[in-house]
Every structure is written in C-alpha cells, then in structure tokens.
Symmetry: C2
Subunit: 391 residues, 2 copies
C-alpha cells in the first residue's frame, strides 16, 4: 500500500468468532510518528501507553488486536499492553519503546496475553509488503467490510503515497470515537509537521462523523511516515499543501466508509448546516440533527420528516430564527422561511429519501459559518447488533 512498510494479519484466537484478530505494521527504517487519541476520561491501557511512547517519537512497529479492548483493566491492563509490546520487541530486536499497541473489542476483560505472546513469532514471520489487506481484516470487530484507501500524487516531481486503514462501525462519535486508523506515507516529513497534518485532517474527517453519539475508550489514529519516497515536505511549500490535502482526502474517505458501515446502517447521510453565527454553532446544530434518534429513524423510514429536523435545530442551543430557516433534501427545498413548501416538493423529497446517500442542508440564514457532519440512519439492525453483542 505504501512504500517502506510491511504488514501482517493473523488469527491468534482472541475473538470468540473465527478470523484474523492480530495485526502488525512495521518499518525497517526509523519513522516519523504522530497520534491523536480519545478524549474520554476513561482511556484504555494501550492509549495511555501510546501517548507516552509517541511523545518520545521512536516507534518502528504497531501491534493491533481485535476482540478485547484492554480498557477498564487498571494497572494490570497497562502491564499487559507493555507485555505485548515487549513480545514484539524481543522477536524483532527492537526496544520496547519502539512498539506501539492498539486494542479494540470488549471492555473490562483481561487481555489473553499468553495467546498473543504465543502468536507473535508467526505474526512477525508473516510480515510482507502486500499484507495491508490482512491488517485491514484483522482489526475489524462489528465492521461488515474492510476499510482501506490510498492515493498518490507528485510532490516536487516525486510520487508520494498516503494510504490509510481503519476500523469502526458502532460507538462512533466525534472527538475520536471507537475507531482505529493507521495512516502511512512514504513522504519525508518531520514528526511535528506530521502531527499537525494529522490533527488538521482528523478535525475534518473522523471528528465529523457520528453513528450513535458515544465516544470510545480506545479511539486512536496513528500516522507513520517512512520517508522512502525521498520527497521532502517543507513547511509552507506547495508540496506541504498537497500533502495536507492528501491526508484529508484519505481520512475523509475512511471516515465516510466507517459511517456507511455504521451498525445496521442502510443510508449515508451528509448533514450541512450553513449560515450559522459561528463555526461552533454550525457544528453544534449539525451534530444535534445527526444524533437525533427521531431524525435517524425518519431516514430509515424514508420519510422526509422536516418537522423533526426543525425540532432538532430548535433544541440545539444555537442562535436561530425559525422564520429564516430553510431545509433541503439534496436540492429539493422542503422548508422556506420556516414554512413547508408544499405537497409537490414533499413528493420530490420523498423520492430523494429512497436513495442510499442523501445530502441534508439546513440554512440558518443568520451568519456565514458552516459545518458538515456525516452520519447514518438508526435501524432495527442497530438494535439487534447492540442488544445481542456479548451474549
């Protein structure tokens, strides 16, 4: 997927169900590394460990397991996370501090350290340049499809690739909700600049999606730059802007894949709030709509129920004037100046609602700020998946 990296994904028997559940991403060369993490007060052990290790800036390998989150596991959990990293370091002749750890799955149960330790030699010997597909599969939990995307562009005459892998379907909310993502590049970029690019791109991608408004204990996005393309990213250059736009495009694509795979989702909904007084108010309104169970079930029912959208905006604690409110389903205007535009428009809006992807635009008409949030509908399958999980 991206030059300078090797990948592996195998089954170590961590998940209850059959399938790959242990992955490794590795570079022969020293890497530039950056990370963004859950803002939850309850942070999983691997998150605590990675935050420390990324600050030291020395990582060469990331080991990831699915099936167990190693969250709410106390001091023992931190020891277990260090234990996994140690197993990889020992096998590969690395320092412990050069190995990052990510976990996803059930909360509050001790990690099966023995199973993982036993699988590490196999994992390491499976490393190969084409193994990114195995990584994408091994990190899946309730995901119904694997999520990977990469693109290449010339920077200063040299082809640079940015490629990402992600997992996540439920427990998705802005501010890094249960999802893991690994973004690799072969550009030559300093850790500070990589960290800045990662933060900027996260803000417009993973922090703009919501499935159910819940934030996870384990959310992590790690960026790794191998530098093997030789293309140097210099601060403020045209190449820097190209690199930033590549990071955004890769991460927005992965973020939309996560929402499309929202637990039980049948529709991808893009919510644009325009004309708000501040960017924060635009985002608050967009999130209020996106997280409203009444709005989400109306989408599932393919009902252009604009009253629920107006109700959600009204409850969003932002400045607004009902008599200025416009609402569009794709390009069909169903509300103008706070009032229903009529049965003809409703018929068109109902046709829009039958599509797999719908763009909802809410025009506040007070200011100049806007926000885009992606979400999905709330369905019977969401209930089934989450009422049955663990049992």
């Amino acid at each position: 997927m991206v030059k300078g990296f090797k990948y592996a994904g195998i089954s170590a028997g961590i998940k209850k169900k059959e399938g790959k559940d242990l992955a490794l991403i590795y570079s022969d060369e020293p890497l530039s590394v950056a990370g963004v993490f859950t803002t939850s007060k309850v942070k999983a052990a691997p998150v605590i460990l990675d935050m420390e290790r990324i600050a030291q800036g020395k990582a060469r390998a990331v080991i990831i397991n699915s099936g167990n989150a190693n969250a709410c596991t106390g001091p023992q959990g931190l020891e277990d996370a260090k234990g996994i990293a140690h197993a990889v370091a020992k096998e590969m002749n690395l320092k412990d501090e050069e190995v990052l750890v990510c976990s996803t799955g059930v909360i509050g149960q001790r990690l099966p350290l023995d199973k993982i330790e036993a699988a590490v030699p196999d994992l390491v010997s499976s490393l190969n340049e084409g193994g990114d597909d195995d990584v994408a599969r091994a990190i899946m939990t309730t995901d119904s499809f694997k999520k990977a995307f990469s693109l290449s562009k010339e920077i200063n005459g040299t082809l640079v690739t940015v490629g990402g892998i992600a997992k996540g379907a439920g427990m998705i909310s802005p501010n890094m909700a249960t999802m893991l993502s690994f973004v690799m590049t072969d550009a030559v970029i300093k850790p500070e600049m990589l960290s800045h690019a990662l933060k900027v791109a996260t803000e417009v991608s993973f922090n703009c999606i919501t499935v159910d408004g819940d934030m996870s204990t384990n959310d992590t996005v790690i960026a790794l730059a191998s530098g093997v393309s030789g293309a140097e990213i210099n601060e403020g250059s045209a190449g820097h802007l190209t690199f930033l736009s590549m990071m955004k495009e890769v991460m927005i694509t992965l973020a939309k894949m996560i929402v499309s795979d929202g637990e039980g989702a049948t529709k991808l909904i893009e919510i644009n709030v325009r004309g708000a007084e501040t960017p924060a108010e635009a985002k608050k309104a967009a999130l209020k709509i996106a997280n409203s169970p009444l709005v989400k079930t109306a989408f599932y029912g393919e009902d252009a129920n604009w009253g629920r959208i107006a109700g959600a905006v009204g409850g969003a604690d932002i400045r607004m004037d009902e008599s200025r409110l416009d609402i569009f389903f794709d390009d069909v205007q169903l509300v103008k100046g706070g009032l229903f535009t009529g049965d003809e428009a409703e018929k068109s809006a109902t046709a829009v609602m039958k599509k797999k992807e719908v763009v909802l635009t809410v025009e506040i008409n007070l200011g100049t700020h806007e926000s885009t949030i992606w979400t999905c509908d709330l369905t019977h399958d969401y209930i089934r998946i989450n009422a049955e999980y663990r049992s």
Copy 2:
C-alpha cells in the same frame, strides 16, 4: 379528580386514527395559573400564545388537541391557535385571554380549525366533574396508556388535593420535551407561589426524564388552582412544604409513567449518579448514560454491560478518576475502583437486568453531589414506531 374543575374529552376527527382528540379543562371560578414551557428555539404557536396569556394570569379554561402540533406553522399557526381559543371563549362567554391552548401531534401542518370549531359546542356541553379520564385519553398520541395520578393530604386541618394528567411517550428529554401535563389543585395559592412550586417540581420530575434526548416544540406543563378547598397555602408555612411535596410526588409519578411508556420501552431505568464534584456534573453524567444508545440497547438485551456505562461516564465531560469508579445494578456491585468484581457478581447483575425496573447507581467518589434521571431501554419497537410514524 380535583374539586372546582370540570373536564371533557371528545373526538373531533383531527387524528388520522379513530379516538378522542379534543379536550377541555374548565373552572367556574377564577383560577391561579402557572406554566412552564419548552426551551426550544422553535416554539409551537400555542406555546407562544400561552406564555403571553399566563403572564396576564387570567385563565379559566384550557383546550387541548392531539393529532396536530400546530408547530412550524408561522403567523397562520398563531392565528389558528387564537381561533381555537376564541371558539371556546365565544361558546362559554369568556374573554379570549381566559382560554389557554395546547396542541400535540405532527409538526408543520396547518391545524384543521374548521373541525375544531365545529366540535367546540359538543366539547363544552360534555364538561363534567368526572371527565378527567376523557381528558387523559384525548391528549394521547403514541402513548400506550393514559397517565393520571392524584393525592390528597390535610393542610391546616383541611383536605387538599393535587391531581395531574400527562401525555408523552416519544421525543422526551429534559428541559420539557414533548409532553403535556396539567396539574390541578383545590388549594388557595397565589399565582407567584404556584409558579414557584411548579418550577421546583418540574426540575425534579419532567426535567429528569429522557427517552431519546430530543426536545419538543410543544412541551407544556400548566398548573391550575381553583381554591375551592379553602385551604390557604402561606409562604414558608408547614402547609407550604406539604403542598410542595405533593406537587413533586404527583409530577414525579407522572414523569415516571411517561418513561415507562417510552416508545417501544420494555424497562424503566433509574440512573443515580453520586459523588460528583457539582450537581451539574452529576446530572451531566446521568444524562450521558441515559441517552447512550449503547447503554439503552444493552438494557434491552438484558446484558449488564458495565463497560458501556463506564465508557459513557468517561465521555461525559465531567471530573472523574477511573480508579475510583463504582457501578451497581440494584444492590449488586459490578465495578469497584474501576475494576470488574467478578463472574459471581455478574451472574447476580444479569438476574437484576431481567427485571422490569432496574436501578443503576454510578458512584464517582470525588464529591458529594448526586442526580437521578429516569429513562427506558432502546428497542426494536422504538425503531418501528418512529420509522413508520406519518407514513
């Protein structure tokens, strides 16, 4: 139900389905009146009208329709609300300002004023002292049972009654979510004191329930005091405290009925957060848990999934320390100091989860403040009801 009032509930053909949909509460004598209303920026026409009229303090009658919310209907909607009040006033020889109006139902469609005007003579002639049951039925929308409760106590040697009627099942959230409630008393109490009692009691009852985190355009609680018992409520007296506790008990009982009847609900869940640094943080954490779809579906699945509860608290943006967190299902402690207490406790907690009413207690162990929120589980029927509504 309460002396000094007459009630009526009839069918006027406003609802699509058969059944009563128009109600009237009336007093021969001048009343003390108070109201609390939705804090949504999008307020329904009857809410705007009642806020004005209650400030004038002259009401004698309340007309209520279900089947149409008269919300998002602009200046025409306000004219229609005035029109209904006028029809009642004309029929009963009252001033227009003496009639309050409440509406609940679909948003954004014009009220069928002609049908309501045609039904008003019937409605007025149906008024009788035992008609409170008809009112409770006529104001129902997606409610599956009628909600009424009253109690009587002696104040200064005189029996005083406080009785309430409520409707609401979906779109319920604190800060007055789609629900209507009418609280009647025969006590003699000044409007300012009645208004204060109503606000205090709302804060610990209707503002402490949530079904789906959505707030309505129409939420209204109106308190009416006929004074016919002759029992005077004097500020700061023992009788005043008795009256306040009666208001709270009636309104908490109605509030819990609404949650029990949450759309699709199979369980009533009481969430107690204790040991928070401030009352606001306690309430924020309790609401975060109560509105988490992952927590609500776990209750539906009868799974004591404490990890989702810890995750919700962690994401609640309050001060907390994971290593101090305790979680109880009824009196079964499943988490102590942030850690799982073991399989034996889980077995007991799983038994608790099979009950129709479960008390969840989350002990933050940092401060002295607490909050109680009532909610229900999130089920297949919630999806069915809300995906099909309108169609």
